[in-house]
Amino acid sequence: MTDRVPVLKIGEILLVSIQFDLEDQTVLDLQEDLSNRIVATGAKGVVIDISALEIVDSFVGRMLATNASISRILGAETIVVGMRPAVAMTLVELGLSLNGVRTAMNLERGLKLLRRLAAGRA
């Protein structure tokens, strides 16, 4: 009985905006929902907005990295946007470097990056 994070489709992009503090089950649900939606919609890009997240611990960090890998295998690039500076500093000290995860300052830059990646692939 946990809340689910909505996955919105805009054109060929899936947008996930995380607006509340996540418990572990919600994180796992999101991973599954997102993979299913990528396949169902044929999305080419995923943007995950974490600007509302006050912390990213190893569990959420691992979800972000795993999501990026799964999406790539399914043909979609993932951009994580809006990470707070304090969160980035904490993640690095925790020992998580989020290798393989593309990031952008905000949603606008994330979308721009996705378009550029799509143009490069075409």
């Binding site: 946990t2 572990d24 006050e54 912390i55 904490t90």
Partner: protein
């Protein structure tokens, strides 16, 4: 680590038996950190450490109790958090404290990562369970 027993007497307590309790514990710790005037980065590090340790306690210790309180020492204020479970204990604590070592499905950053994020860290483990105590100081 100093004895913060007097602080614990007035501590806020969260019983952790599900992953949503870990979220509650995080929020209690965050509120205390804000009340104690910790800078934002320190708050974030403390709450992240609390999240790691709370999850560890739930997964490996079968749940337990989180106690958190404001503490003061030579003019500075900080937040003390204690995680106490009655699980099986950690057989090889030195190995468990190493980066990348995990007995479960995690990344092995829980204990070692949490230790890096706080100013004081103490762990006592045995057959009666595990207690982790941490302190994060303000400026």
């Amino acid at each position: 680590m100093k004895d913060y027993g007097t602080a614990v007497a007035t501590a806020e307590t969260v019983e952790v038996t599900t992953s949503s309790d870990v979220v509650n514990a995080r929020q209690v710790v965050r509120t205390l950190a804000q009340r104690g005037g910790l800078p934002l980065v320190h708050q974030t590090k403390l709450v992240t450490a609390a999240s790691e340790l709370g999850r560890n306690m739930l997964i490996y210790g079968g749940g337990g109790v989180v106690r958190a309180a404001l503490v003061a020492d030579s003019g500075r204020s900080g937040v003390y958090v204690e995680f106490r479970d009655q699980g099986p204990g950690i057989p090889d604590i030195e190995t468990a404290m190493q980066d990348g070592w995990t007995s479960g499905s995690g990344l092995g950053l829980g204990l070692s990562g949490a230790k890096r994020l706080v100013d004081e860290f103490d762990i006592a483990t045995g057959e009666g369970g595990t207690t982790v105590r941490i302190v994060k100081w303000g400026r």
